[in-house]
Amino acid sequence: MTKQVQTIKEVTILFAGDSGDGSQTIGTVVTDASAIAGNDVSTLPDYPAEIRAPAGSLAGISGFQLRLSSHAIHTPGDTCDVLVVMNPAALKVNIDRLKPNGILIVNTDNFARRNLRLAGYERNPLEDGSLPRFQVFPVELTRLTRSALEDTGLSQREMDRCKNFFALGMVCWLYNRPVDYTIRWIKEKYARRPQYVEANTLAFKGGIAYCDMTEQFATSYEVKPAKFPPGTYRNIEGNMATALGLVAASQKSGLTLVYGSYPITPASNILHELAKYRNFGVITMQMEDEIASVGVAIGAAFSGALGVTGSSGPGIALKAEAINLAVMVELPLVICSIQRVGPSTGMPTKTEQADLLQMLYGRNGESPLPVIAASRPSDCFETVYEACQIAVKYMTPVIFMSDLYIAFGAEPWRIPKVSDLPPIPVTFRTDSEGFHPYLRDEKTLGRPWAVPGTPGLEHRIGGLEKENITGHVSYDPENHEGMIRLRAEKVARIADDIPPTEILGESEGELLVLGWGGTYGAIRTAVEHKLEEGASVSHVHLRYLNPLPKDLGDILKRFGKVLIPELNLGQLLQLVRARYLLEAIGLNKVQGQPFHVFEIESKIDELLKR
C-alpha cells in the first residue's frame, strides 16, 4: 500500500498518561530529535500535581506538549493537533486542548471499567459517541507492544514499560521524524541493560511498522526544517541553560563556582546538573537548609569564589536575611530564584510569576539589589551570565529570576563559543597602599574585593552599618543615611550598562504590551499576529527589573495605552504605575498555567476596540 506524505508548517503533539507511562521521556526524545533535524521546537512538560497519586487517577496525569515547526515559534501552542493518551484519566484531563478534527490516539487496553471509574467516566467515551469532533484512532497499545516483544523473555510488567516507545514509533511515522536519533538514545540510556535496549527498540520499530501496515493511517505528514542562523544548535531546557551559564561565567571570570543549594522544585535540577561538573572544577554543596546554602555561597565569595545559590520562593524567603548581609558586606553573590506557585507551598509543580515583589522588596531595611529575569529557556544562559557579570563588577548580590515554565520548557539553542562571550574581568585587591575596605570605585561605586589570606589587607566586614570608606562599625546618623544612599546609587548606576530597550513593532502607537519573564513567548506570538493583521501594537519585554532601563519611561509615554500581562495580580503593573505615574492596564492570570496566545490576543483586540 502506498501512503501519502503531506507537508505541513507545524504540528503540536501532546503525550499524556500516568506518571509511570513515560510521557516525559518520549516527549523529550522526539523534541531532541526534531531540534537536531532543524525544526524550531517549544515544549511544555506538565508534571502531575501529586507525584505519588494512584495509577489511573486524574491527579497522577503527566503530560508533555511539543510543538515543532518549519518557522520561528515562541510557545508550545495553546492547543494541540495530536493527543496521545494512555488511559481515560489522561483523556479527561487533556481533551479540551485538542483542536477540532485533531488526531486522538488512544490506548484502548487501559479503558476497562475500573480505569473509566477512576477517571470519573460513567460510560466509555470511546463508545458513547461523545468524541465526534475528533479523528479517533483506538489502538491496543499494550497488547501490540507485548506481541512485538514476545521473544524477548521479559516479564509482562517489563514489556508494558516499553509501550511509550511503541506510541513514539507511531508518532514518528505519522510526522516523519528521524528514527536514528531515538535508536541511539535508547542504546545510550540503557547501555547497562542490553535486554532493555532490544525491547525498547523493538517497541519503537513496532509502532512504526504498525502504522505502515494498518489501514488506519492513510496519510503521514512532514515538517521541513526551520531556517536558523548558522551555528551548532541543541535543544535546551531553562534550568540546563542556567547551569551552563554559571559554568561559562566561572570560566570567563576565572573564579571557581561554589553553588550552595537545598532541593526544591523547580530549582533542583540546576544542582543536579552542576553536580555533574565536579570533575571540571565546579563545587556544589547540598546544605542542610536554604539558609546554609546561601551562607556557604557568601563565605566562598569572601574567599574569592563565584558564590551562587539557587531556590524557589519558599527557599528564597529563608535566604532573605543572608541576602541582606550580602547587600551590607557588598560581596558578589548570585541568587537564582526559580518561581513556582505560591503562597506557602502553593502548587509546587505549576508555574506563576508572583515572586517579583518578594525579590525586589522582601528584606528588612532599605535593601536595593539588581534583579534580572530570563524570558525563554535559552535566554536563561545569557541572563544568568549577565547576573554574574553585574555581581562581580558592582560587588553586589544579584537576583536572577526564572520560572517553572521556562525552567522545564525547552527550545533550540545556538551553543555560543566561549570566546564570543563578554569578558568578566576580576581583580582581587593586593596592594595595601591606601587600602580601605569601603573605598569605592569612582565609576561603579563597587568596593575592593580583598580576599582573606592576602598580606596586609586584614579587615573586618559584617552586617552592622559601616562607616563610609573605613568600613568600621558606625552608628553615626549622617553616615547611615549616606551609606543607604550610596548603596542605592550603586545599584541605580547599573542602568548605565543596560542596552537600549528593544521594541517589536513601531516605537510609538496605540498600544504597547509590556512583559517580563516567562510570558515572552505568548506575548510575542500574540503581538506578531496582531501586527500581521495591521494593528498598532508593539511589544517590549523586560530583562532588567531593577534598575529599570533608563529609556523605558520615554518609551511608555509614546503609546496611547500600556498593557502588562502577568501571571500574578499585577506586580510589574504596580511598579510601572508608581514609577512612571502612568495608567497601565493589567492582564492577570493565576491558574498555575502559562498564558494562551489567544488570551493576550483578545485583550489586545479589546483595548484596540477591534
Binding site: 541543541r234 551552563l244 559554568v247 561559562a248 566561572s250 570560566q251 571570570s253 576565572g254 573564579l255 571557581t256 563556582l257 561554589v258 550552595g260 561538573y277 565536579r278 570533575n279 571540571f280 572544577g281 565546579v282 563545587i283 554543596m285 546544605m287 542542610e288 537548609d289 539558609i291 546554609a292 546554602s293 551562607g295 556557604v296 555561597a297 557568601i298 563565605g299 566562598a300 565569595a301 569572601f302 574567599s303 574569592g304 569564589a305 563565584l306 536575611e321 543572608a322 548581609l325 558586606v329 551553543i415 566561549v418 580576599v451 582573606p452 589570606g453 592576602t454 598580606p455 596586609g456 589587607l457 586584614e458 579587615h459 573586618r460 566586614i461 559584617g462 552586617g463 568600621h472 562599625v473
Partner: protein, 298 residues
Amino acid sequence: MAKHESIKAVPTAKDFRGSVSPDWCPGCGDFGVLRALEMACAKLGRENHDYLTIGGIGCSSNLPGYINTYGMHTLHGRTLPIATGAKLGNHDLTVIVTGGDGDGYGIGGNHFVHTMRRNVDLLYVVMNNQIYGLTIGQASPTSRMGMKTKSTPFGNVEAPLNPVAMAIIAGATYVARGFSGDTRHITELMYQGMEHKGFALVDIFSPCITFNKDNTFPFFKQRVKKLEEIGHDPSDMQAAIEQGMVWGDEIPVGLFYQDTSRAPLDELEPVLGEGGPIAHRELGITKEQGDAIIKRMM
C-alpha cells in the same frame, strides 16, 4: 599563585590585638577567651592574614571585631555555613568561628549538627554563658532547669542541651570544654583545636556577670575538674560521652574526644584536590575543562 612566604618574625599575642577595644561589660568572661585566642594564634605561629575569624550575633559573637585577623561579623546563628564556604574558597586559611550558646546551640543548632557531620576543618569557640547576654538576659538552650531569667520568671521548665555529648555523637572530631577563668588551659585547648585537621569544638564557660547570677565565676571555679587529672583517654568515644554527661559538684573540662582518622571536608572535595586554594588559582575552570563540558553537552 603560591602561598605567601612569611618573612616576618614569630608573631606574639600582641600582634593579634585589634584596634577596637571590646565593649563587653567589665568582668565579662569573654575577655579571657579573647586573650587566650590571641595567645593561641601566636602559638600556632601563622601570620595575621592567614586567619579568618567569623562571628554570629551576640556579645560573644562580637569577638572578630576585636582581633587583628580577617574577620566577618555575620548573622545570628549562621556562622558555620559561611565559614564552610570561606574554607572551601581558601582552604589554606585557619578559620575560627566564635559565638554564644544562643547563637550556636539555639538558632544555629541545625548548622552546628551538620557542620560537625561534614567535619569542616575549623575551630569553633562557643562562649557558653547559659544566657542570652546581648538581648539582656533570656533563657538559652543551656540554661539549667528552674533558672529564673527575664523570659522564665517562674523558672525554666525546659531541660538544657549538652553540647559536648551532642558534638561527639554528631561527628565532631575534636571536642573540648574549658573555663574562661583558666586562660592558660583554654589557650592550649584552642591551639590544639586549630592544629587539629577537622571540626574542633571548644565550649568555654564564659560567665555573663550581668545577667546570669547562677553560673558565675565562683560557681565554675569550685566545680571544674581537668580530665587530665581524672585520667581520660580522648580516643575512647564511649568514655568521652560518659564524661560529657557528668554535671554536678564536679564538671569535667579538657579534651573529651579526638579522632584523627577522619579526613576533613576540604581533603575529600575533589575540586580542591589539586592546585592550592581556589581563590589563588589562575582559572576557576580551565579552557580544557570548559571545552570538555561543551562537548559533553552535544
